[in-house]
């Protein structure tokens, strides 16, 4: 079995593998909490990854690349928002179309950059971190965007349950008609939530293409966007469980590399995240109302203000 010396590297690797899942799932959580189910996460992630990589390769400027990747994700989300919020199209169909569109469009954007190298990624060390006795070098080995994702987690948790705006967002997701009659702009709030979801998916994509691998290739998210969508359901729409789930799924990927050759076939270990999601879906649907308490009541339903 993996010995104790492996604990720290496995922990660091798990944080890295969980980061894109956490970022994308937090964005999707906000979107779903407002009542909009966006199945286009995979497409928005790919778009963010391609645009981010193109900007990083072209300019060598990683902060700019990150920003552009987020904007690309948000731009795709805006198209989705127009379809489902303004035109009130079916959210499931529009989301699936968004993913298919994102796969193709990102391949087009990234075509020139496939398999290219990035200029040296000189990310500034986070000050004082390396000076901490004992754990300093470990903390430095963690990607800066992983820290950013943890900050995003704290921000999203605070926003949803501790801020007035978060209360309004949840209100819009649970009872859009009541929110509307109280004078809240339901469609505008949903647009903002969808745009946030897109930007976070774009950030997850940039993390993969610019910081994590770092390389661009068609379809490189390899289903991580879908895991993020499943993760929100897995977490029962609660941010704390999104965090746990992201590292659980990330950890499953890493663990299977370390367990290979010891006991179980790698193919079976590769199925772990999906098996876990199915198991949780079964548990949720069996335990009924209690598990669904945090599910936005209007999830997936278009809003008609004139009615």
């Amino acid at each position: 079995m993996p010995d104790l010396d492996l604990f720290v590297p496995i922990l660091i690797a798990t944080l890295g593998a969980g980061t894109p899942l956490l970022l994308a799932a937090l964005g999707e959580l906000i979107s779903e909490k407002s009542g909009v189910l966006n199945l286009g996460v995979e497409g928005m992630m790919l778009m963010g990854a391609a645009v981010g990589f193109a900007v990083a390769a072209g300019s060598g400027h990683f902060a700019l690349a990150t920003l552009c990747g987020m904007l690309a994700g948000a731009a795709l989300a805006l198209v989705f928002g127009f379809l489902v919020l303004t035109c009130r199209a079916n959210q499931v169909a529009a989301g699936l179309a968004l993913t298919i569109f994102g796969v193709g469009a990102s391949a087009l954007v990234g075509a020139r950059y496939t398999g290219r190298a990035l200029p040296a990624n000189e990310v500034a060390d986070i000050p004082f971190l390396g000076d901490l006795p004992g754990v300093g070098s470990v903390l430095l080995a963690i990607e800066p965007i992983t820290y950013l994702s943890l900050a995003c987690f704290a921000g999203v948790s605070w926003f949803l349950y501790r801020s007035r705006a978060g209360l309004v967002l949840r209100g819009v997701g649970d009872a859009p008609d009541s929110a509307h009659s109280l004078g809240y702009p339901v469609v505008t709030i949903r647009y903002l939530a969808v745009l946030f979801g897109g930007a976070m998916a774009g950030l997850a994509g940039v993390f993969l293409s610019v910081y994590y691998t770092p390389t661009w290739v068609e379809n490189m998210t390899a289903g991580r966007g879908w895991i993020a969508v499943a993760l929100v359901v897995f977490a029962g729409w609660r941010p704390g469980y999104v965090l746990v789930g992201a590292y659980l799924f990330g950890g499953a990927t890493i663990a299977q590399f370390h367990l290979q050759g010891i006991a179980i076939a790698s193919q079976i270990l590769s199925m772990l995240p999906y098996l876990a999601t199915i198991a949780v879906l079964v548990i949720i649907s069996c335990s009924g109302a209690a598990a669904l308490r945090h599910m936005p009541a209007s999830l997936g339903t278009p809003f008609h203000p004139e009615r």
Partner: protein, 361 residues
């Protein structure tokens, strides 16, 4: 009506007569060659090397050859459409450059008996369909010598794709090379179940480094292992392409296929009418494989040793799979004084002793 009918019948007969006389059994003036790639042409990697081969073929044969490529072809029924289209559009010779096209190539070969097909790494053949494969284990053995000489932890990591004979040959050849300079070296294998998934390739590389590997090699197609090794300050052996630009201080060397001369040879034989369906298994001595320049971090005596062994390999004096070779269970597979036969090597389904990795039952 009858007159018109008979006139058209005569026309048809004439047309076929002309057509038949325009199609000589042998020698052509110009050969149309089609290539089917499973991925787009990148700046590095498998398809890039095939396309480099295609360009070299064009340079060697000039206007006697006309090449057409179709890239990013998915495995399965779609690939049959592409191969058929190439054949119907007048290709005389079609290369399908991935194992996954085997059944579709065979199907197309049955539909177009006058077109020659060459499928990579497969085992199905026909009188108009040959196969070609490279003895990757030869340069892998040499790269293993470099890795064995450079490891200080006696642990080398291998990011593997699938447990296919073609992959096992490479890893075994590499391990035998490493053991030839450092008998106790361990080669740890992690499979990522993909030819190309930069995320998983990076994670597997990190996992191997965490398990003590200070040199990592791979049988996957992205540069992620090189980038991860560079980042971790470890060494790496590249695969399919020289990836030194991704790992200037980490790449010890890289194992590289060379297709140009072989493609030109095949096209020429179709021009002459001398092409026959064969199973080609090309070696370093035939110029079909090589190593990327060995990095400056490798000491001169190691470089000399590699040069020496390369000579011995090219002259046929050295065979990487020369006995005694034991498998993981310690069973003697190749006795002393013998070399493994090509048939057994082509279908190998076991790891040599010293490789740590589990194969499917």
């Amino acid at each position: 009506m009858f007159a018109i009918k008979s006139a058209s019948a005569v026309a048809v007969a004439l047309f076929f007569a002309l057509f038949a006389s325009a199609m000589p059994a042998a020698a052509l003036d110009r050969v149309n060659v089609g290539f089917v790639y499973f991925s787009p042409v990148f700046d590095t990697g498998w398809t890039f090397e095939h396309d480099k081969g295609r360009k070299k073929m064009e340079a060697l044969l000039g206007d006697k050859v006309q090449a057409r490529i179709v890239e990013n072809v998915a495995y399965g029924p779609d690939s049959l459409q592409v191969i058929r289209q190439l054949a119907a559009d007048g290709s005389h010779l079609i290369f399908t450059t991935s194992f996954g096209f085997m059944d579709q190539t065979l199907e197309a070969a049955e539909l177009f008996p006058d077109v020659k097909f060459m499928h990579l790494d497969g085992y199905k053949r026909r009188d108009n369909m040959g196969t070609y494969s490279l003895r990757y284990y030869e340069p892998s053995y040499l790269a293993g010598i470099v890795a064995g000489a450079m490891t200080e932890s006696d642990t080398i990591g291998y990011v593997s794709s699938f447990p296919l004979p073609a992959v096992l040959r490479i890893i075994n050849g590499f391990a035998l090379g490493a053991q030839s300079v450092r008998p106790d070296v361990k080669v740890k294998v992690i499979e990522v179940n993909s030819w190309f998934d930069p995320g998983r390739e990076r994670e597997a590389t990190d996992a191997l480094i965490a398990q003590g590997a200070d040199v990592v090699a791979h049988v996957t197609d992205s540069s992620a292992p090189t980038l991860a090794a560079e980042k971790a300050g470890k060494h790496v052996v590249g695969f399919h392409s020289n990836r030194a630009s991704f790992g200037p201080s980490s790449q010890l060397t890289a194992v590289i296929p060379i297709f140009g001369e072989f493609y030109a040879e095949m096209a020429q034989s179709v021009l002459d009418g001398s092409w026959i369906a064969q199973a080609h298994w090309r070696s370093m001595a035939q110029g079909s494989l090589g190593l990327a320049p060995i990095g400056s971090m490798v000491p001169a005596d190691v470089q000399d040793l590699v040069a020496q062994r390369t000579e011995a390999l090219l002259s046929g004096e050295l065979h990487p799979f020369a006995g005694p070779i034991r498998d993981q269970a310690g069973e003697l597979r190749v006795p002393e004084g013998e070399v493994m036969a090509d048939d057994a090597l082509y279908l190998i389904d076991w790891y040599v002793q010293g490789v740590e990795g589990k194969l499917p039952e």
